[in-house]
């Protein structure tokens, strides 16, 4: 086991042992929880070229526990239990700790962290969620937030294992993050509809040759200022892209198969985000410059994954009025140096798009939401409508319809066979 992995495992283990020992002597009022059980079904009217399955069922049970034995310390633990009718969940019955599997784990430790606070200083240690950025459409600065893209349209955030320290000084916030073990985003399964293969690859067996995970630690710094009515922050990230480059291993095999390998390029990002309210709406902007710490010459010698250099940015306006919450904006990118041949990059895939969301609260138990993303060249578009209704204090039903249209060579358009209807029933406790 590599040193970074050993450190990460130790962090998780120490957090776990501490958590269990504290819980055992817990007073009832110091322990809180929240959780839910959800069953969901998807219906895809069209079969995909590589996936004829049109009905998918999914089950998720989630439990989060919080234990605060003293005012200065809190432990948090989260567990997931999953099942799926379309082989999106690993068959193995083991508690997954690192979220590195191709499929979703059947049982996983979603989070396990200790939060220590003393005066203006807060330190989180363990497997935790770290979110950066202010925009709602995409977050170019959100570098410690890998996602599960088994369903590209509704990704879920994954936690990372590390240490985060935050210091407050008046209106200023200083944040430092160290993540010794890399957590990748989970990409769509190769044999399922959210991986779209070119027509010429039809009939060619595609084999998952696995992933090469980077071994170094990731670090980040962020300074935030919360002014009178406005906020901004500057951030720096040195680590790896949690979205992979995807490359073919060797030549097409004797059996005519293609072996695909995922690699994760080293990147540095310099980011900024700002939120400025005006009398009419709040303007939010977020941008990051992605560069590679590895020189071109070194890349060719070492065989390390190459990364493009580019600026990813988003500008949005936001307004709540009456029962409406409306967010609309533009996401764009400017590539300054192209290096990587092919990769899975939904953040860049959504760039050069107009994105809008609107939700309406019908009454305290019913909401309806609309969402759309349209590429400026018109080659891809997505529209989503979602109706949600609660019943009593525990139950909520959600119905969604997603329409996707466009060209095969467009990030959104390639999923034009994946329009769907879905229904989910959740019991929260």
């Amino acid at each position: 086991m590599r040193p970074a992995a050993r450190i990460a495992v130790r962090i998780v283990f120490v957090s776990f042992v501490s958590f269990v020992s504290f819980v055992r002597c817990a007073e009832a009022q110091a322990l809180t929880q929240r959780g839910f059980v959800e069953g969901a079904g998807w219906f895809f009217p069209q079969a995909a070229l590589n996936d004829p399955t049109r009905v998918v069922g999914d089950f998720l049970a989630r439990e989060d526990l919080f234990f605060k034995p003293a005012p200065w310390i809190q432990f948090a633990a989260g567990f997931d239990l999953r099942a799926n009718s379309h082989d999106q969940v690993d068959d193995l019955w083991r508690l997954d700790l690192d979220d590195r599997g191709v499929k979703r784990p059947r049982a996983s430790l979603r989070r396990l962290n200790a939060t220590l606070s003393h005066g203006p200083l807060t330190i989180d240690v363990g497997k935790q969620f770290i979110r950066w950025g202010k925009a709602d459409i995409i977050n170019p600065t959100d570098r410690f937030a890998p996602r599960d893209y088994i369903n590209v349209v509704v990704p879920e955030f994954l936690a990372v294992t590390g240490v985060r320290a935050v210091a407050l000084h008046g209106a200023e916030t200083f944040e430092a993050v160290w993540v010794p073990r890399f957590t990748p985003s989970r990409v769509p399964l190769l044999d399922q509809r959210w991986t779209v293969l070119p027509p010429e690859a039809a009939g060619v067996p595609i084999v998952d040759a696995g992933s090469v995970f980077p071994t170094g630690a990731q670090t980040g710094l962020r300074w935030g200022h919360a002014g009178s009515g406005y906020e901004y922050s500057l951030s720096f990230f040195n680590g790896f892209n949690n979205l992979p480059n995807v490359g073919q291993v060797g030549q097409v095999g004797q059996a005519g198969q293609i072996d695909l390998l995922r690699t994760y390029p080293a990147i540095r990002t310099y980011g900024a985000d700002v939120a400025v309210p005006t009398p009419w709406f709040t303007i939010k902007a977020e941008a990051a410059y992605f560069t590679s710490p590895t020189a071109d010459a070194d890349l060719s010698q070492s065989g390390a994954a190459a990364a493009d250099e580019y600026v990813l940015y988003v500008v949005q306006v936001e307004r709540q009025t009456g029962e409406w919450v409306v967010v609309a904006g533009y996401a764009g990118d400017v590539t300054t140096k192209r290096r990587a041949a092919f990769g899975f990059a939904p953040d860049r895939g959504l760039a050069r798009s107009i994105v809008a969301r609107a939700s309406y609260t019908i009454d305290p138990v019913r909401t309806i939401a609309f969402e759309t993303a349209i590429h400026q060249n018109g080659n891809g578009a997505l529209a989503k409508v979602e109706y949600s209704q609660a019943s009593g204090p525990h139950w909520r039903a959600t119905f969604s319809g997603v329409g996707i249209a466009g060209q095969d060579d467009d990030f959104l358009g390639q999923y034009h066979r994946n329009s769907y209807l879905s229904a989910a029933l959740r019991y929260s406790f």
Partner: protein, 271 residues
């Protein structure tokens, strides 16, 4: 006339003189513009009402019951902690029920000279969001309270005029019109406040948008808690929607030991 008699006449004269001065002062006071006096009185009343609720901190568990025109719809529960005095206090509201909103928290930082700063923490997406000033008129989490209604009203942020006396729920009250000062950004054009004469507790607030009542807040079940007369039930009616939200305060305590660092963005992320 003897010396003694002269002295007696002198004392009587001085007494008459002071009496005339007193009458003159009373007459002068009576001649002051009625509005000015009423304003002074109104401000003093509100100031006194505020002073009587001064506490270093406060904590309670609240039950929120939202009713629409047809009846009860949903229940929510939150815990509220406040540190500091009027105008300079900080407060954290954290939902505990229903389960799907458990952990959602609102941090309010009140300022004496301007509108409060507010941030909402949503654990499901692990994000905090600043509530912009122009969004404060929207309903708070499906209740009939707007974000602005959750701010603490500070006496210095409004101008007051005494409008008369009225009885609310059998208790004689002062009826006071208040208008937000220029520095106080508000969705409401003006408010009418009823303050009970017996204990200076708020009995009702009607908030107007232009000339129409937008929201009405009724205070009831007023009890003396640690020397502070406190309404343990508040009912906000959204007059335009015909819906109302009842907030019942439970386990109310004043002057509980709270720390400044529990009222930060970092702190509301903790459960």
């Amino acid at each position: 006339m003897s010396k003694g008699q002269v002295g007696q006449v002198g004392r009587v004269g001085r007494a008459r003189l002071w009496g005339q001065v007193g009458l003159l002062a009373l007459a002068l006071f009576a001649c002051l513009p009625l509005g000015l006096r009423a304003a002074d009185n109104a401000r003093q009343i509100v100031d006194e009402a505020q002073k009587r609720t001064d506490a270093r901190s406060q904590r309670y568990e609240g039950l929120l019951q939202v009713f629409d025109a047809k009846g009860k719809i949903s229940d929510k529960r939150w815990t509220m902690e406040r540190l500091g005095a009027h105008g300079q206090s900080k407060a954290v509201l954290r939902f505990t029920v229903p389960a799907e909103v458990k952990g959602v928290a609102l941090l309010i930082v009140n300022h004496p000279d301007r509108a409060s700063d507010q941030w909402m923490w949503t654990p499901a997406i692990e994000r905090d969001r600043r509530i912009a000033l122009q969004d404060r008129s929207t309903r708070f989490f499906g209740t009939d309270f707007s974000f602005e209604d959750l701010e603490e009203r500070d006496v210095n942020q409004y101008e007051y005029v005494l409008s008369g006396d009225e009885t609310i729920d059998g208790a004689p009250c002062w009826k006071i019109a208040s208008t937000p000062r220029e520095s106080k950004s508000s969705q409401y054009t003006r408010s009418i406040v009823w303050i009970r004469k017996d204990n200076y507790a708020f009995a009702r607030i009607e908030n107007y948008v232009k000339d129409q009542v937008a929201r009405r807040l009724d205070y009831s079940n007023i009890q003396n808690v640690q020397g502070i007369w406190t309404a343990k039930q508040l009912e906000m009616t959204d007059v335009r929607r015909g819906s109302r939200t009842r907030l019942t305060l439970d386990k109310l305590e004043y002057n509980v030991p709270l720390k400044d660092e529990d009222f930060t963005l970092q702190a509301i992320r903790r459960q």
